[in-house]
Structures are given as structure tokens and as C-alpha cells.
């Protein structure tokens, strides 16, 4: 029974994670984030008994039985992983798109921004980002 419960839980979590990734890739990252939150939330609201029983089911015991791992902990792990993927995808998308825009502006004006005046740390970092930053390469 424990093996069956583990397999069932794993399949459910895998389906959930793959669906979120599919939405992230094919549709929208915001929808994926919403889906990530909404599915467990709606499940708890619609079927509180079943959902709570599922989430509180103990899958493993670590450290000689001291640390229990429930389905809820697995859900938290999946949540944190997928939130991280979505957030960093969003951030990198913004970063790269900003680089493309900047390159286009640079071509249009023919000159760089106010470089070369400042000698402080901010200037150095600016130079660094301008050199290795979002150049659209």
C-alpha cells in the first residue's frame, strides 16, 4: 500500500509539474504561476477533507524517523522549484529584451551614453554591464 501511495502521489505531482512547465513554455509564465497556485488552492477549497488527507500523508521518515516527509513537503518543493523557474525565466526574458532595445537605441543614436566622466564604483559597474551586458549578441 505504501508503494502504491508513493507511486500515485509521484504521478500526481509529476503531472502537475509538467502541466505547469507546458503552460510556461507554450502559453504564458503568468498563467503558469497562476496555475501553480490555483490548482492546490482550489483542490483544498473544493475537497478539503481529501486534499488535506493527501497533503498530510507521510511518505518517508528521515534521520531515523525523526524527520517526517509528507506530501505537503513535496508540494512545497515543487512550488519552490517551479516558482524559481518561472521567476528567473521572466527575469532573463526582461533582461535580454532590454539588451535588444538598448542595441537598437545605440544604433539609432550612433553614440554611447554618458560614459567616461565618473571614476567611482558606480561608473565601473556601469562600464562592466555595458561591456558584458545585454548587447543583444
Amino acid at each position: 500500500m505504501e508503494i502504491l501511495a508513493f507511486i500515485g502521489s509521484a504521478m500526481l505531482f509529476a503531472t502537475f509539474a509538467l502541466t505547469v512547465l507546458f503552460i510556461l513554455i507554450r502559453i504564458s509564465s503568468r498563467l503558469a504561476m497562476l496555475f501553480l497556485l490555483a490548482v492546490p488552492l482550489i483542490a483544498v477549497i473544493i475537497m478539503p477533507g481529501t486534499s488535506v488527507a493527501f497533503l498530510s500523508y507521510e511518505q518517508f521518515l528521515f534521520a531515523g524517523g525523526i524527520v517526517p516527509v509528507n506530501n505537503f513537503h513535496i508540494l512545497l518543493t515543487i512550488w519552490s522549484t517551479l516558482i524559481g523557474i518561472i521567476l528567473y525565466t521572466e527575469f532573463l526574458t526582461w533582461y535580454l529584451s532590454k539588451g535588444k532595445r538598448r542595441k537598437a537605441e545605440k544604433h539609432a543614436s550612433g553614440t554611447s551614453a554618458d560614459a567616461g566622466d565618473s571614476t567611482d564604483l558606480t561608473f565601473g559597474l556601469k562600464q562592466l554591464f555595458l561591456k558584458y551586458g545585454p548587447s543583444g549578441k
Binding site: 501553480l36 497556485l37 492546490p40 488552492l41 483544498v44 477549497i45 478539503p48 486534499s51 488535506v52 488527507a53 497533503l55 498530510s56 524527520v67 517526517p68 516527509v69 509528507n70 505537503f72 513537503h73 512545497l76 512550488w79 519552490s80 516558482i83 524559481g84 521567476l87 528567473y88 521572466e90 527575469f91 526582461w94 533582461y95 532590454k98 538598448r102 559597474l125 556601469k126 554591464f129 551586458g133
Partner: protein, 427 residues
């Protein structure tokens, strides 16, 4: 030397051969009239000597010695033993006085001579076990309502007799101890321990009655006598009693168990009370249990009344909900029994303990946004509502939402800082 064997008068011939001197042969068999004896007891050492030789054995001397005992006649003599004749010697030996069992070695040696004065000798030895000088014997008899061999009713009793003996030549003071089976009580004595002064060579008897308080099969352990000798303490046990005594009658056993001894306030658990008729006859029973303060009865019954055949059992179970936080000792469940003879008795169960924790706080008004509650959830590794039927779906959803937001904010810290920084650089 030669000797003539045959003379033929006709031919006047004589047959002769070389004369050879014969020799006596010694065969000894040594034994005793007892292989185990008491301290200070006189036993007989028997030595049987057979001359298996061809000439008589002269000047026979039997020398006897012992490692511990005292030999009555250390040396015995006999003039002559012809070939193929048997001589039986009896030597009295007194066993030593010993506080512990030990072996006594008795050694004998036969020496004899032939006609030419040549000595022949042969030894023999054997061992005898010597018991301590204090001995205790225990005898158990079923008395009263005896219904068969070693079988009795609960109204009967056991007559126990302890026989003490001191075979030493001096008196001693003994501490006697006789352990009874736990369900038996001595009737005419307060304790089954005595201090007895036993004179030299004296024998005493201690008798008392023991009454069984419940039915079943019983065996009696050995009685123990303890005394001091020369600054040392010695003990001796009686021979083990292998008989099994059976006491017929009704006997009820009540057991109480709880499904979970650790609860959170608001959680429910099942309590099971099992009554078993372990006796040999039918019994009428009223089984009752009680829900203590701090718990409330959710479902099930706490009483039962009926009859139980011999060997049958009845189980009642009920569900209680934890109300108060703390440690609650459940009261003992009791069975008021009446056997077929109208005899009343009561059996009670153990008193299990339930620990009720407040880790999942029963104050539901704060569950959804209480930091302390979430700390508790993190501590227990459970989400609210695990086994808690009173947790609402909104509270559960609130917990999920807050967990999601917390994770989101934690993971968004680095991208947010990077975003703000890059925005500042490219401003």
C-alpha cells in the same frame, strides 16, 4: 628344576618338563552401598578381591583412604586367598560435614605376596557425592475441594510442608524462604519466611496453607534455606516440584488500549476495552468504562452486560475527542463478574495515559494568519487539518496561499534586486 609328567613302565621311559612357578592374580572391584549420601553419614565401602592367579596369595593387606571422609578401618588384613577364590572386605567410611555438595574420593589398595615373597599390589577407587548438612524438602498437596489429580476448585487450598534437616554435629540457624505464585496468598501465616534454629541432627517441619485467588495452572518453585557457616553464607534449595496444579474456576481479564496515546486538542481516537473469560466456566459480566474529564465521547458505548463462555472475549470500543491539553490518565475499565456458583469478583484493566498537545492550536480564529501556528506546522511537518475535522476549508486554503506567497517572496528577492539594480544602471 624339572618335574616328571609321565613314566612308561613298559619302555621304562619318563617324560619330564621344566618346572615353572605360578603367580597369584589380583582383581579388585570397589563400590559403595550409596552413591549419594548426607553429610556425616556412615556408608560402607565394599572391596571385592579375586585371586585370578594359579598360586595362593599370602599376607593380604587392604589399605583404604579418603580425600574428605573418615575411614573406620584404614587397614584390614587377610592371611591367604587361594586361586580363584573371592574375598569381600567392608570398610566403614563417614562422610564429611560440608555446607555445599561435594564429592568424596575413596581409594583402596590391596597388597599380597606369593610363596617366594614377591609382592603383588593393585589399587581401586570410586567417588561418592556428599550432600550439604542442611537439607530442605518441599511437599505440596492440593486440599479442600479437590476435583481430580492435582486439580481443585478456587475454594480449595494447597497444603505446603517444608521438612528441614541438619545432619551436622552442631546446631545452626536457618533462614527459610518459600516463594508462592503471585496469585496465591498464604492463609495461616503472614509471610512465607521463617527463622529456624535447628539442633545437631535435628529435623523440623514447617507447614502452611496457600490459597489460590484465581484459576489457572500453577507450578511451585523450590523453597530456599540460607545459613551462615564460618563467616560464609550458604543456601540450599529444595528439589524442584514438577507437578502442575490446576485450579478450576472463572477468571476475567480486562484490557484497555488506546489507538493513539498522543493527540492534539480536537483530535479523536479510539479506545478499546477487551474482557476475556480466562477461566474454565461461564461467567456473567458487567463491563463498564468511563470517559475522563478532558475527553468527550464521540461515538460508541462504554458499557456492556452479558455472559461469557470459558475462553470467550468481548470487545467494546468507543471514540473520544481530546478537549483539554495535558496528560490524562484513563480510568481503569472494570468487569463485575458472577460465576456459576454465584461468586462475585471484579477485574480491572490498566490505566493507559493520553498526552494531549496544543501543537495544532485549537484556537481556530487565529489559524489562518497566526505565525505561531505556522511555526507549529513547520515543527510537526503537518499542515492544519490533519486529522482535525473542525478545520475549515478557508483556513486550509489560507495556509496554502500564505505558504505559496512566502515561497514566492523568498525566491523573488534575488531577481528583484537584480532588476532594480539593472534598471538603475541603464536609467
Amino acid at each position: 628344576m624339572v618335574r616328571v609328567i609321565y613314566i612308561n613302565p613298559d619302555t621304562r621311559e619318563a617324560s619330564i618338563e621344566t618346572f615353572r612357578q605360578g603367580a597369584p592374580g589380583i582383581e579388585i572391584e570397589a563400590l559403595a552401598d550409596k552413591t549419594i549420601c548426607d553429610s556425616n553419614e556412615e556408608i560402607s565401602s565394599i572391596i571385592i578381591l579375586t585371586n585370578s592367579g594359579t598360586v595362593p596369595l599370602h599376607g593380604i593387606i587392604l589399605t583404604t583412604g579418603s580425600s574428605a571422609g573418615v575411614v573406620g578401618e584404614p587397614q584390614l588384613q587377610h592371611a591367604v586367598l587361594d586361586p580363584l577364590k573371592v574375598k569381600k572386605f567392608i570398610v566403614p567410611v563417614t562422610a564429611p560435614v560440608t555446607p555445599v555438595a561435594r564429592n568424596m574420593l575413596i581409594e583402596s589398595r590391596i597388597t599380597g605376596y606369593d610363596s617366594r615373597g614377591i609382592a603383588y599390589s593393585d589399587p581401586a577407587s570410586f567417588e561418592v557425592q556428599v550432600r550439604p548438612y542442611v537439607s530442605i524438602d518441599k511437599k505440596v498437596e492440593a486440599a479442600g475441594k479437590v476435583s481430580g489429580t492435582n486439580e481443585m476448585e478456587t475454594d480449595g487450598y494447597f497444603r505446603i510442608t517444608l521438612r528441614l534437616r541438619n545432619t551436622a554435629g552442631f546446631g545452626t540457624i536457618l533462614d527459610i524462604r518459600d516463594e508462592l505464585p503471585s496469585s496465591m496468598i498464604p492463609q495461616d501465616v503472614e509471610r512465607t519466611q521463617w527463622k529456624v534454629s535447628l539442633d545437631a541432627g535435628a529435623t523440623k517441619e514447617i507447614s502452611y496453607n496457600a490459597k489460590p485467588t484465581e484459576s489457572g495452572s500453577f507450578t511451585f518453585g523450590p523453597a530456599v534455606a540460607q545459613w551462615e557457616d564460618g563467616g560464609e553464607t550458604y543456601t540450599v534449595d529444595s528439589e524442584p516440584i514438577t507437578e502442575i496444579f490446576r485450579v478450576r474456576g472463572s477468571k476475567a481479564i480486562v484490557e484497555k488500549s488506546i489507538a493513539s496515546g498522543y493527540l492534539h486538542a480536537g483530535e479523536s481516537t479510539e479506545i478499546v476495552v477487551t474482557a476475556t473469560n480466562a477461566g474454565a466456566s461461564k461467567v456473567s459480566m458487567i463491563l463498564t468504562d468511563r470517559v475522563p474529564e478532558g475527553l468527550s465521547l464521540m461515538s460508541g458505548k462504554v458499557t456492556w452486560e452479558g455472559e461469557l463462555e470459558a475462553g470467550a472475549s468481548k470487545k467494546i470500543s468507543y471514540v473520544v475527542k481530546a478537549i483539554d491539553i495535558g496528560t490524562i490518565r484513563l480510568p481503569a475499565a472494570g468487569a463485575d463478574c458472577t460465576d456459576e456458583e454465584g461468586k462475585h469478583y471484579t477485574a480491572v484493566s490498566d490505566t493507559p495515559v493520553v498526552y494531549i498537545d496544543d501543537a495544532l492550536n485549537a484556537d481556530h480564529s487565529q489559524v489562518s494568519n497566526s505565525g505561531a501556528s505556522y511555526q507549529a506546522y513547520a515543527h510537526t511537518g503537518q499542515i492544519p487539518g490533519s486529522g482535525n475535522t473542525e478545520l475549515t476549508r478557508i483556513e486550509a486554503a489560507g495556509f496554502m496561499l500564505s505558504a505559496f506567497i512566502t515561497l514566492f517572496l523568498l525566491l523573488a528577492i534575488i531577481p528583484a534586486i537584480m532588476y532594480l539594480f539593472i534598471r538603475g544602471v541603464y536609467k
